[in-house]
Symmetry: C2
Subunit: 204 residues, 2 copies
């Protein structure tokens, strides 16, 4: 015998998470983001490494309500975002990493497809919501273009995962005065990225 | 300045993982699976909680070479699997969770779409490779049908994540004499599930 009702499962999950967080409390919206990350990873370390720029959640909510598009660095993050909910406000999710022109350009230059896809994304949506769950190279490129004034994001979800450049790319983002959500250090990922966006969508 | 070449990034990542694993060593194929999970999560706990049934990797490799189909419990896991590589051997990835008939049946019965989607998947591919990265209810249903002799999987990747049923569903799977890969306890997820399948694909 086990719980088969999806609403009961989610309710019980968040009760357990809240209980196990114990003394750690957050403002309402920040708590919603952090709990949904823990819900998707079963990893309480995210309560300590998640950094949300002041005002970023309000700015992101307003942007979504305005129909702002979301750009992800992977198909996985794209797949995980609740696109039905997003489309209620007119926004769409884009990912260019599998585009033929991106693949060719990356191969020619010997750089990641993530960098080339990010360049394409910024050209098409300089004020978009940028969601990076996997590729540090995509986040480094975005940081560079923010500094140059070419990208003015409504939100940067900077949660690439890994051992080469992930932590460093997030520290670069933290230096900027833009609305961001970051998981410091090596941890993150496409499921974390999607969970953050969905947490914001469910606040609306 | 940062590394922009995708092959260098992956090579360096696996070197760091191998170094930090230190004394923990594994047989060649098992090591490849565990290192790819850590690569995708930056979480070394997976070295301790990943359990691979003896012979499961050889069986899975043979199944993939034979064109066996893969069924996932989420669109995210589906998105993360290297489908181009899989298709070289004739296999495809299926996921039924967003099907209209699945949604209707689940709503009518007040159970998760994951359960209904799993029932549909077993009917269509009783000998498939089942990849469960998210929903304990999908894994409970699969375990039930394995016991009833209705599902005879070529491999079960049982890595659902979460607080309600995830750990318990994996313990049920561990009791069965089927080829499985499990991450004990609460941890797992769609990225972990996809990483396991890709690790096997890259062995071929």
């Amino acid at each position: 015998m086990y719980i088969k009702n999806p609403y009961e499962i989610e309710k019980k999950s968040f009760e357990i998470i809240t209980k196990e967080l114990g003394d750690k409390t957050f403002s309402e919206d920040v708590g919603k983001v952090i709990k949904r990350i823990i819900h998707t990873t079963a990893d309480f370390e995210y309560a300590d490494i998640t950094v949300i720029k002041e005002g970023a959640l309000d700015r992101a909510k307003a942007a979504i309500k305005n129909g702002t598009n979301i750009i992800t660095d992977t198909k996985m993050a794209m797949a995980g975002i609740n696109k039905r909910k997003l489309s209620e406000y007119g926004g769409q999710v884009f990912n260019y990493v599998a585009d033929e022109d991106v693949a060719q350009e990356a191969k020619k230059k010997g750089i990641t497809r993530s960098i080339v896809a990010m360049r394409k994304a910024i050209k098409e949506n300089p004020n978009g919501i940028f969601v990076i769950g996997n590729a540090p190279t995509a986040l480094f490129e975005l940081v560079k273009q923010i500094k140059e004034g070419k990208a003015i994001p409504s939100l940067v979800v900077g949660v690439p995962v890994g051992f080469v450049g992930a932590a460093e790319s997030k520290e670069e983002l933290l230096k900027l005065d833009v609305p961001y959500i970051v998981t410091r250090g090596r941890k993150g990922g496409s499921t974390v990225a999607a969970a953050i966006i969905n947490a914001i969508l469910y606040m609306l």
